[in-house]
């Protein structure tokens, strides 16, 4: 193979020294979106949640939300799963099971942390819980909410496969001034 031609085809990102990590992550994300875009199998992992997140996840399969029309499916086996939907604050007693589930999934895989516990809100790290999913697993998408509604979960799954844009960077959580005026 002509080395000059090979270099030209691969472009500057192929150089290991000059490889931009963010660009690589973006390429990988595009690849995942292209491969998973219309058929994504989800394995849910409850790491000590109160089960309200599970209620909302279960509702995704109800006729009103009908997850399957979007090409998302739940699978009972991590070996068939592309996306790990993790709820709960990562109880330490669940370490082995969480690690085995993650390792059993074929790559490329996506980890989604779901709910305020999984995002580090409710339980601080202590001898019983890790406090948040990202302390243990490499999280790709964070879905806030206590619990996140089925619509919020749908939006999060859409963000995870690159079909929907994330809104969060544009939000400020600053409201207009009090319409009634007056002292605080």
């Amino acid at each position: 193979m002509n080395p000059a031609l090979g270099d030209a085809r691969r472009g500057p990102t192929a150089d290991p020294a000059g490889r931009d990590e963010a660009a690589a992550a973006r390429q990988l994300r595009d690849k995942i979106a292209a491969q998973f875009g219309r058929s994504l199998h989800i394995r849910t992992l409850d790491t000590g949640s109160c089960a309200v997140c599970e209620q909302e996840i279960r509702l995704l399969t109800a006729p009103h939300y009908d997850l399957h029309r979007l090409g998302f499916f739940f699978t009972p086996a991590p070996r068939h799963a592309d996306l790990l939907l993790v709820t709960g604050p990562m109880v330490r007693a669940f370490d082995v099971a969480a690690r085995k589930t993650y390792e059993a999934m074929p790559g490329p895989k996506v980890v989604v942390a779901t709910g305020a516990c999984a995002l580090g809100g409710v339980y601080p790290a202590d001898p019983f819980v890790h406090g948040q999913v990202s302390n243990v697993l490499p999280v790709d998408v964070w879905i806030p909410g206590c619990p996140p509604s089925p619509l919020a979960l749908l939006h999060g799954l859409g963000v995870a496969v690159g079909r929907l844009a994330e809104k969060t960077p544009g939000l400020t959580f600053i409201a207009d001034e009090d319409p009634y005026g007056g002292e605080a």
Partner: protein, 112 residues
């Protein structure tokens, strides 16, 4: 069933990929709070931080740092400072970076 079939034929699509219209229930969802900087003082901010059970609020000088990822939309900040807090109405909050979920609210109110 025949009605759905006829409607599908007429519109060309039976379902949408993602809810094209806001869901009727989305107006009633508990959502994280939004803050009014002009009504916030250091003292109200500290009271809200103390009232927050999930550690979603903390104060750094004249900035209230709000983490909607940790927020459970319980409304206790609104209970201690009803003037300074309202509901944001935002529930499409999924983020691909954790830092995108941490927001800084300036504290602009004057101490009484």
């Amino acid at each position: 069933m025949p009605l759905w079939f006829a409607r599908g034929l007429r519109r060309g699509v039976v379902t949408t990929r993602y809810p094209a219209r806001p869901d009727s229930s989305s107006a009633f969802l508990p959502t994280p709070p939004a803050f009014r900087p002009g009504q916030l003082t250091r003292e109200t901010a500290d009271r809200m931080v103390a009232a927050c059970p999930s550690g979603a609020l903390r104060r750094q000088g004249d900035v209230l740092v709000f983490d909607p990822g940790a927020c459970t939309a319980c409304g206790r900040c609104a209970a201690v400072a009803p003037r300074a807090v309202t509901w944001s109405g935002e529930w499409e909050l999924a983020a691909t970076t954790r830092s995108a979920l941490v927001k800084e609210i300036p504290i602009l109110g004057e101490e009484l």
